[in-house]
Structures are given as structure tokens and as C-alpha cells.
């Protein structure tokens, strides 16, 4: 009996694009998330468009604070839950992003709680998959620098309260506006401002302390 081989990455990607067109993603170009979500209430397949639009952002966000395999699960689960709870979607914002991030945040929080690996995940080394990429050495150097800088910042981030850190992460990693952050966390915009301001002050203090310690060591 001929057994089947595992699909390659290229095949998987092809299958995604096939599904995209099957599910009418191209048809939805130019339509707002609100409109697509309205369709998805009647026809679940329409939800595929929401997935295509936002999956990358959600995965990138989750992978910032979780090991990649866990982040992938969280991202995937976000859309399955969103699909099942699509009736709870409140239109009016034009974008489903805050709603999706709200779901994702809860999953990420759960995963962080459950996984003792979360901090290891944050500090994990980059896996450079394609070593034949031009300027490979430069890429590695850049990433190593980024890792070093982030690792220096990490203790400061970990010292923040969960609420402050969540706002900061949404701001930095999801590139959200204050309004979107407020909608995601279901708090007033003023609260977002004050949390971000508090985070900024704490980071400033921590940076000062690090700098002072650095000077002392240099002397």
C-alpha cells in the first residue's frame, strides 16, 4: 500500500491560498470587518476572510511572549473561538482586531500561567531556518543584538504589573492605538493612557538604575 507523504510547506501554503479563494476571501476585498462578520453570522465560511486578514498579527503577537509551538496553538485557537462566538461580535468599530486580540490575550495569559516555559520562550534563541539567505551573517548579528537588548529590558518588563505590561505589549507588539487597546481590554481610553504612562515611568527608572550600575562596574 502506498502511504502518503507529509505535505511540504509549499503544499501547505498552496492549500491555504486555495482555501482562501474557495471561501471567498478575494470577494471580500474592500469590505470592512463589520460587513464580513455580518456575513459570517449566516455563513460561517465568510469568517475565513477575518482569518486571512488578522492571523499574521495575532500569531506575531502571541509568539512574542510564548514559545512558537504554544503561540501557534493560541493563534489558531483564537480564530476557532472567535468563529464559535461570532454572535458576540459587536459591530461599529470597523475592525475585528480588538475583539480578536481580546480573545488572544486570554489564551496567551492562560498559556503563560500553565507553561513554566514562558520565560524560557521569551529568551529563546532565534532559529534561522534558511542559512542560504543573502547577508545571513548580518541577519544573525542583528537578531543577536536585538536579543541582547531585549534581554536587558526583560527584567524591567517583568517588574511591571500585569495590567501595565499588557497595555505596553499591545502598544509595542500589536502596534495598536490607544482606542484599540481600550477596546481590546474593555477599559476606558484614559486608563490605557495612565497605564502606559506608568509603564513608561517604571521603565525609565529601571533604565536609570541599569545605567548607574553600568557606570559603577566601569569604574
Amino acid at each position: 500500500m502506498a502511504a502518503q507523504s507529509m505535505p511540504t510547506t509549499a503544499e501547505r501554503c498552496r492549500s491555504v491560498s486555495q482555501h482562501s479563494s474557495e471561501l471567498g476571501v478575494e470577494r471580500d476585498v474592500g469590505r470592512s470587518d463589520d460587513e464580513v462578520m455580518a456575513d459570517a453570522q449566516r455563513d460561517p465560511a465568510a469568517f475565513g476572510t477575518i482569518f486571512e486578514r488578522h492571523y499574521d498579527d495575532i500569531l506575531r503577537y502571541a509568539s512574542r511572549s510564548l514559545p512558537l509551538d504554544v503561540a501557534e496553538d493560541c493563534a489558531s485557537e483564537t480564530f476557532v473561538i472567535a468563529l464559535k462566538k461570532r454572535s458576540s461580535y459587536k459591530p461599529g468599530r470597523g475592525t475585528a482586531r480588538p475583539w480578536l486580540f481580546g480573545i488572544c490575550l486570554r489564551l496567551v495569559s492562560d498559556a503563560r500561567r500553565k507553561s513554566a516555559r514562558s520565560s524560557a520562550g521569551q529568551r529563546r534563541l532565534y532559529v534561522v531556518e534558511d542559512v542560504n539567505t543573502p547577508n545571513h551573517a548580518d541577519c544573525v548579528d542583528e537578531k543577536a543584538d536585538a536579543d541582547a537588548a531585549y534581554n536587558q529590558l526583560l527584567p524591567c518588563l517583568e517588574a511591571l504589573s500585569k495590567a501595565d505590561r499588557q497595555v505596553l505589549e499591545l502598544y509595542a507588539w500589536a502596534d495598536m492605538t490607544y482606542t484599540d487597546i481600550a477596546n481590546t481590554l474593555k477599559v476606558p481610553v484614559g486608563t490605557v493612557r495612565s497605564r502606559l504612562n506608568r509603564a513608561r515611568k517604571k521603565l525609565h527608572k529601571a533604565a536609570l538604575a541599569q545605567s548607574t550600575a553600568g557606570h559603577r562596574e566601569a569604574k
Binding site: 502518503q4 505535505p7 501547505r12 475565513g48 513608561r200
Partner: protein, 415 residues
């Protein structure tokens, strides 16, 4: 440059602080950036999962509408199952023989459903079925029969932890979490334990991709007749439209694996296979077992046959759901997890917990059609092997079966 300075709360800070904060935000941004190939790969897998959820959601209203009937049917099926056992009925011989259709790309679509599930059992016929003909009789629900047979579930099937509920509501990952709760019915804990071991496997590097495709999987090894009754009744209590059928390229790693459908299979030893299906294995295309069609009652007959067979000592039922062509392809390759391990890693699987994984790996450890794989597996699982050897009769029977199988494989290969 981040948006910090552009936002209105900058009036509470000074420019130096703002610049410093922007730099810190930039550091955060540059941390752990995924490259596009990583995103694409993950996206494909996530899309498959979403497509399954979409398919489920698309069918939900119909399923919901029929649920009460099905629950009644589940209870009726329990009674019918008891009747079957009491009658000691023989395997079916009225099965329709369909040519194998190895079309991995076909998407299973829900077939017309029967109005209510009735457990159709076959009349006694001790000879192996060789042709698709003969009569069947429907076993009518009989509460008396179930009352006579201890251990047969009746109305208590209607509980949130029945396989039917789990199949519909919970992915295997979360089912595993339920095992930790004390509310799970004891007879189902065994199944969950297996599910739990699957969850653990999921984290291993080799299967991490493969297992993602398998959101629902029940694997029962070393199954007793009572176990099969539970499964029988649980599967019968599922709305028919939740049991999709379709074609499936045969995947048959050790010679006697019967794959009845893409999403349902029975594994039993060779003798039982012949008794049930009149063929040595599904290697024989002409005598390939029937592909049960939804609503045809064949599934009922098949399970009834397995239950009533005097030859089936060890049987396993895998139950899975998948709807997209892409996912189907993936599930085809990982239908049985141990084989997926062996197939893709080239090495023996290393169970996370030998106790939990026992049922799952029993087959691959002893029945693998390759001495090398068998030896690898057993070397990697000394505790499990020790447990096997604690039951000499069981171990001897398995070794004998494995020896025979290996000899056949070697003879075929001309060794």
C-alpha cells in the same frame, strides 16, 4: 519611531523621556520577529483547524435540531447493543463491497441522514462473508435486555462526558484537561487517558505538526467487549450527520489494519479480520471491506460484528473527524499515531507516560511488521514491555501474532 510622542499624554512627560521610551518600545518590537516562512507554515495548519470548525459550524443548526432524537436513539442503541450481546449474534455478511477509492483530495460531505438511529444487527451466519448479500434484521430497543446485562449503559448515557458530547464539543487537548476532574465517568477515564497521552505526544518534535490536524481522536487498544459496547452506543448516539464518511487511501502499516472509512476504523487480528470481512487484509483490493456509507446502517453492523465476534480479542477503534481536503491528507498520514511516528521519524516513539500510553502503543510495539521497529520500540519502552511480560498469556499471544505477521511480511519480501 513609535507613536508615543504623537499621543496626547506626551504632555505629561518630556521629550527626553519620550525618546527613551520610544527606544525601549523599538527594542520590544525587534524582539522575536517571525519570518514569513514561519508564519506561512503556521497559518496553513491553523487554516486547516479553522476549516474544520467552519464545517462544524455550518452543520450546527441541523445537528441541534435533531439532538433530542439522537439522545433517545443513544439509549435505544444501548439497549440494542445489549440485545446483540445476549443473542451472541455473528458478523454481518450483507455488507456492500465497494471498490477502494484512494482519493485523498475528496472532501467528505454529509450524506442524507436516517431519521433516527436504529441499531441494525445481522442475523447469525457463522461463515465468513464473501459476497455482498444476505438479510439483516433490525434489533429493536429493549430495555429488558439492557436490564439483564450488567454494565450496559442505558439512560445514563445522557451525560456531559459521554463520548458523543466530547466528540462534538471538545478537542483532544481540552478533553485531556477534563481527565483531571473527578466528574468524569470512570469507564471513560481510560479513553481520556489515551487522549491525554496524545496531547503529550503533540509536544514532541516529530509529531507536532501531524497531531495538530487531529483534533478529535479516540483510540482504544486492548478493548473489552464491554468497552466496545460503550463505544458502540456512544457512536450510535451521535447525530448521523456528525459522522462523515468518505473515501480514504488505504493506510495499513502492519497488515491487518482495517480501515473502514476515513474517520473510523477497526483494528483486529488477522483471524478476526477474516471472520469479519472474508479477506486476509485490506491489501486485497478485490475483497476490500465495505466502505460504510452514512445512513446505510453499515457502521452499526460493523460495530455489532466486532462486538459479537468471538475472535476479536484485541480491537481498536479510531474515530476522527475531518472535513477539508488538505486536512484529510494529513489525517490519512497520521491516522494511527505510532505509525506516524515510525514513518516520519524513522525511530521508535518514546511515550511520555508508559502507563497512559500503553493501549496506544501496544499494537506498534508488538505488531509492527518490522523486527527493527519492534526492537527499537521495545528497547525504548522497557517499562511497558515489563508490564506486558507480567501477563504471560497476553504477551505470548501477541508475540506469536507478531512473529506470524513478520514471517508473512518477510515471505512477501522474498527474504
Amino acid at each position: 519611531m513609535s507613536k508615543f510622542n504623537k499621543n496626547s499624554h506626551t504632555d505629561r512627560t518630556n521629550e527626553t523621556d519620550g525618546a527613551e521610551f520610544d527606544a525601549q518600545v523599538d527594542v520590544m518590537k525587534s524582539h522575536n520577529q517571525l519570518d514569513s516562512s514561519q508564519v506561512h507554515t503556521a497559518k496553513a495548519t491553523a487554516r486547516e483547524q479553522l476549516n474544520r470548525a467552519i464545517a462544524e459550524e455550518s452543520r450546527r443548526p441541523a445537528a441541534r435540531g435533531r439532538r433530542p432524537l439522537m439522545w433517545v436513539g443513544g439509549v435505544a442503541a444501548a439497549a440494542a447493543a445489549a440485545t446483540l450481546v445476549a443473542m451472541n449474534v455473528s458478523p454481518p455478511n450483507d455488507v456492500e463491497v465497494r471498490p477502494a477509492q484512494p482519493t485523498a483530495t475528496s472532501t467528505p460531505t454529509p450524506q442524507p441522514t436516517t431519521p433516527a438511529p436504529t441499531s441494525q444487527a445481522t442475523k447469525t451466519n457463522p461463515s465468513p462473508p464473501t459476497s455482498p448479500s444476505s438479510a439483516t434484521a433490525s434489533s429493536q430497543p429493549s430495555t429488558e435486555a439492557s436490564a439483564k446485562k450488567p454494565g450496559v449503559p442505558t439512560g445514563d448515557l445522557v451525560d456531559p462526558f459521554s463520548l458523543a458530547s466530547i466528540e462534538q464539543e471538545i478537542t483532544f487537548r481540552y478533553a485531556a484537561d477534563l481527565v483531571d476532574g473527578s466528574t468524569c465517568k470512570p469507564e471513560y477515564k481510560k479513553y481520556f487517558a489515551t487522549v491525554n497521552s496524545m496531547r503529550n505526544l503533540k509536544r514532541t518534535p516529530v509529531t507536532v505538526r501531524a497531531m495538530r490536524a487531529q483534533t478529535r481522536f479516540f483510540w482504544l487498544g486492548d478493548t473489552t467487549r464491554e468497552d466496545l459496547q460503550h463505544i458502540h452506543t456512544a457512536i450510535l448516539s451521535l447525530p448521523k450527520e456528525d459522522v462523515p464518511w468518505g473515501s480514504h487511501p488505504p493506510f495499513q502499516p502492519w497488515g491487518t489494519y482495517f480501515d473502514a472509512s476515513p474517520h473510523w476504523g477497526v483494528d483486529c487480528d488477522g483471524k478476526a479480520y477474516r471472520q469479519l470481512f472474508g479477506a486476509d487484509s485490506d491489501n486485497d483490493e478485490a475483497a476490500r471491506p465495505p466502505m460504510p456509507r452514512q445512513g446505510s446502517g453499515t457502521l452499526d453492523k460493523l460495530i455489532a460484528a466486532v462486538m459479537s465476534s468471538t475472535e476479536v480479542k484485541t480491537a481498536a477503534i479510531g474515530f476522527n473527524k475531518c472535513y477539508s481536503a488538505a486536512s484529510q491528507q494529513e489525517i490519512d498520514s497520521d491516522w494511527i499515531v505510532p505509525e506516524a511516528f515510525i514513518k516520519y521519524s524513522g525511530a521508535a516513539p518514546k511515550p511520555h507516560d508508559p502507563e497512559q500510553i500503553w493501549t496506544c502503543y501496544e499494537a506498534s510495539g508488538l505488531q509492527a511488521a518490522s523486527r527493527k521497529v519492534q526492537a527499537q520500540w521495545q528497547a525504548a519502552n522497557p517499562d511497558v514491555v515489563k508490564k506486558w511480560k507480567a501477563d504471560p498469556a497476553f504477551y505470548a499471544s501477541k508475540v506469536a501474532a507478531a512473529e506470524k505477521m513478520i514471517a508473512q511480511e518477510e515471505a512477501k519480501a522474498g527474504k
